[in-house]
């Protein structure tokens, strides 16, 4: 509990220091909004050309997109310290973290909380709301819970990927890009319904990097398409659980990385 209080104190300080540069902060928020908007333009172009993808309309795809990007924006905000971890090592900030009587995870999460990612979050939200209105979704308690569950699960899954990415940098900073591509490629892949993919790729997204579990199944339940695709309904509900599990697992791997660091000092 005490650690959570400390975490929020970190967050408060981080936000305060970002607000020191108001103009540049606002620019960054707008920037992030526009960047994601431009990315979304690509999806729009494809639907303009092809009309639909495997029976999914643009609006339905937009729902997937919205959920994934809201989740990922939250991840980018609160795991920034892990995302820029190689820099922490290079500047010696990680050594400083090791010199403090707190867990490394808490301190790295507290290192930076990027609220400018709210730009992406807003864009995701706009797309999600637009899609929900166009699709005329009736927000029952169940569907609302599924939505939140999916966002939470997605966030923890992406966060886990970012932690793994940081862990890898204990061994090789240069190969970081690979994991980075899994994270960003994963986001790219998950913004479409996974049923459009070939079975082998779908399996990766269900079992190895369980993006589908945290995003696809709940979204299908929200769309009311579960019967159509023969998935058991409960799969939509385990999203937060799967996401959290993945995150905790990545924290275990992280500990191995820290041990490696303190024994090589590289």
């Amino acid at each position: 509990m005490e650690s959570i209080r400390l975490y929020f104190k970190y967050v408060k300080l981080s936000i305060e220091s970002q607000l020191q540069y108001k103009a540049s902060f606002i620019m960054m928020v707008i920037g992030h909004f526009l960047i994601t908007f431009i990315e979304f333009l690509g999806i729009w172009a494809l639907f303009q050309r092809f009309g639909n993808i495997q029976g999914f309309t643009f609006e339905e795809a937009a729902l997937f997109y919205g959920i994934v990007h809201i989740a990922f924006a939250i991840t980018e905000g609160w795991t920034r310290g892990f995302d820029i971890f190689p820099r922490l090592v290079r500047l010696g900030d990680f050594d400083r973290i090791l010199l403090r009587p707190r867990t490394t995870v808490l301190q790295i999460l507290g290192y930076d909380f990027q609220i400018m990612r709210i730009g992406r979050l807003c864009q995701g939200l706009v797309v999600l709301i637009w899609a929900a209105i166009r699709l005329n979704i009736k927000w029952t308690i169940g569907k609302t819970l599924l939505l939140f569950g999916s966002i939470i699960g997605g966030n923890f899954l992406f966060s886990g990927l970012i932690v793994l990415q940081a862990t890898l940098s204990f061994w090789s900073v240069q190969s970081l890009e690979i994991v980075n591509s899994f994270t960003y490629g994963g986001v790219q892949a998950a913004q479409y319904p996974i049923s459009i993919y070939k079975p082998w790729f779908r399996k990766i997204l269900i079992y190895i990097i369980p993006l589908a579990t945290v995003n696809y199944f709940p979204a299908m339940s929200i769309l009311g398409k579960t019967e159509l695709y023969n998935y058991p309904i409960w799969l939509g509900w385990i999203s937060p659980l799967v996401g959290t599990m993945f995150f905790l697992l990545s924290l275990l791997v992280w500990q191995i990385g820290v041990k490696h660091y303190t024994s090589t000092g590289s």
Binding site: S24, E39, L46, Q188
Partner: protein
């Protein structure tokens, strides 16, 4: 000319040393390419209408784009930007050569060395993939020549845009936001993410006249034979004109800024 050649040589050498980074970059681009192709596969399988380019052409187009990613002006020259951030750029002004051309030479090396290193293995791998994902070689030698020539044109445009990104750092130190915005515009409007022929027709007409189409779209369309060889002169001229315009623009902005710097005393 001689100092520029030696700059290019030194940079080239330096970049070749980052073998792991190059490998990682190759894997990343492979992964991204696969995700995109998977998405396109889904789209092509669900449309019965008339599509401007065939699936196989689109796949080849995507791979060309991925292989050439390193050549795209999606970021600035990190060292130059660090020089600007730390204020050490004043030392650069002392060098007995045109600063813009010096940066241009560096950009040239930055855009070619890693690309060569990444693209050749990537080409080999993607040629050997199962036929749903594989790249196809040009039907005749002329398409290949057209591709080589327009790739050189793309390189010229890329270096001039890279320089523009470097120069924007002079104007706003935390130019991170503008840079990322520019990079997402470049990746989308060049055809990297969605092949330009697949864009809605009206938008496509505008995009065809922007310099970004010269980066990926034109070379890829020569490679796939979508543009016949006899039009090579016209398209190459188009690239050169844009490169010249951006070159002059960059020189002009930089010179103005240098004057300011000298007046303010750095």
């Amino acid at each position: 000319m001689k100092p520029f050649i030696s700059i290019i040589k030194i940079r080239f050498n330096l970049m070749l040393q980052y073998r792991v980074a190059a490998f990682a970059g190759g894997v990343t681009q492979f992964f991204f390419g696969m995700v995109m192709i998977m998405v396109l596969y889904g789209f092509y399988n669900s449309s019965s209408g008339e599509i401007p380019i065939d699936y196989k052409v689109a796949v080849t187009y995507i791979w060309i784009g991925q292989a050439m990613l390193g050549m795209l002006p999606w970021n600035g020259d990190r060292e130059i930007q660090d020089l600007i951030r730390t204020g050490n750029v004043t030392y650069e002004l002392v060098r007995p050569m045109n600063l813009y051309n010096y940066w241009f030479a560096r950009a040239f090396a930055l855009r070619t060395a890693p690309t060569l290193l990444k693209s050749i293995p990537l080409f080999i791998v993607v040629l050997l993939l199962p036929k749903d994902y594989s790249m196809e070689l040009p039907l005749n030698m002329l398409s290949f020549i057209g591709w080589i020539v327009t790739t050189f044109g793309a390189l010229l445009i890329s270096c001039t845009i890279t320089n523009i990104i470097n120069i924007t750092t002079l104007y706003s130190i935390s130019g991170d936001g503008i840079q990322r915005l520019l990079s997402s515009i470049v990746t989308l409007f060049s055809g990297m993410i969605v092949p330009l022929p697949l864009f809605p027709d009206k938008l496509k007409q505008i995009l065809n006249y922007l310099p970004f189409s010269g980066l990926v779209d034109i070379p890829a369309r020569f490679f796939t034979g979508e543009i016949p060889f006899y039009q090579l002169f016209k398209y190459f001229l188009f690239q050169c004109i844009w490169a010249l315009i951006i070159y002059i623009l960059g020189q002009w902005i930089l010179n103005r800024k240098i004057k300011d710097l000298i007046v303010q005393g750095g």
